[in-house]
Amino acid sequence: MAVSDTIRDAKGQILLPAGVLLGDSQIAQLLQRGIAAVPIAVEETEEARESRVAARKAQILELFGETGETPELEQLRRFVLEHADAD
């Protein structure tokens, strides 16, 4: 179980960086600082990932159409789709 975001104290000092695994000592340290709840990273299933990428691609298609109207839009459409695939 890992924290999904960087955890800071009231002064903004980092207590736990994002991605750190939560063990007993980390939990004790947080409780000592009065922090009773932290966001936890949830692993995405392959099915959930595929569905998220498909939704994103549909959104990109609606934005750009099948091809970009100008060379700049076509270049952007290509790389935004590439990014969606790699995400």
């Binding site: 903004g12 980092i14 934005l63 700049e72 839009l73 790389f79």
Partner: protein, 287 residues
């Protein structure tokens, strides 16, 4: 232009909700023109407005601005960022505060607009840093305020803006083109009216006015190009100001000025945008 539709100046003039220039900005401008003024004097002026100074500190210390937990006082901010940057942040924070209570409508959601604006601020700054032809702090503020004309239009003529948005979404025409046909002007002209009234620096005023046609911004063309491209990149990456925004067309010269015509540069910039959108969302939700 249809006769029943007011000019941008008249429209802005009729909006009672537009506050006058905040006292802290008037005093800052006065002190800045005095060569004997020290950074301590200027910090004191800002600190007289507790609400604004705490908002400025919160903004600069937010992860998405990039000085997370490092700037504890306005004076320290002046030393690290420079006075002009802090003054611009006071200005943008004042604008955001002034329009904070604006209510959303079915077709115009303030939360979406602010998240988009904050994301454009972060990406404008990124483009400024990479291109080297724009001051990054100025780019951040211009990005944050680039859509303020839409907010003014919403406050002034909500039914007209709603009609424009519906026509834009229904016919897949850019909102600014619909505004020009229906109103006779784009919302960015309203932004420049606010910029005049609040005595924004001329580069900021001109970049807001010409954000859709950056090549017409004269000396402010590089700044206008940064926010023009950042707006397009944020929409492309999913941070749109409207639920069904129509993709704007990049101006070729602006695209080239920001180096985005190079595939490698564009690919790298795109990969750096999602954390900025997440940061913008977290910042707006915590404001």
């Amino acid at each position: 232009m249809p006769t029943e539709i007011p000019t941008p100046e008249a429209m802005a003039g009729h909006v009672k909700s537009i506050p006058t220039l905040p006292g802290v900005l008037i005093e800052l401008s006065r002190r800045m023109s005095d060569p004997k003024t020290s950074s301590d004097d200027l910090a004191q002026v800002i600190q007289q407005d507790q609400a604004i100074s705490s908002k400025v500190l919160k903004l600069v210390n937010s992860p998405f601005y990039g000085y997370s937990g490092k700037i504890h006082t306005i004076n320290q901010g002046i030393v690290i960022l420079g006075f002009n940057a802090i003054k611009n942040l006071v200005l943008s924070t004042s604008v955001m505060e002034a329009f904070k209570g604006t209510e959303s409508g079915e077709h115009f959601r303030m939360e979406l607009l602010w998240i988009h604006s904050a994301a454009v601020a972060g990406v404008s700054r990124l483009l400024a840093e990479r291109s080297g032809c724009v001051d990054p702090e100025e780019a951040f503020v211009a990005g944050l305020l680039h859509d303020i004309g839409k907010v003014l239009l919403w406050i002034s003529e909500p039914k007209l803006l709603t009609a424009c948005i519906q026509a834009s979404e229904g016919h897949r025409i850019q909102l600014e083109e619909v505004e020009t046909r229906v109103l006779g002007f784009e919302d960015c002209e309203l932004a420049s009216v606010l910029a005049e009234r609040w005595k924004f620096p001329s580069s900021l005023r001109d970049s807001l006015r010409w954000r859709t046609q950056p090549e017409r911004a004269g000396a402010a063309a590089p700044l206008a190009s940064a926010i023009h491209c950042a707006n397009i990149l944020c929409i492309a990456m999913g941070a749109s100001p409207l639920a069904r925004t129509v993709m704007p067309r990049p101006a070729s010269r602006a695209w080239q000025l920001m180096g985005l015509h190079h595939d490698d540069r564009l690919r790298r910039i795109l990969s750096e945008i999602p954390p900025r959108i997440d940061g913008a969302r977290a910042f707006v939700n915590s404001a």
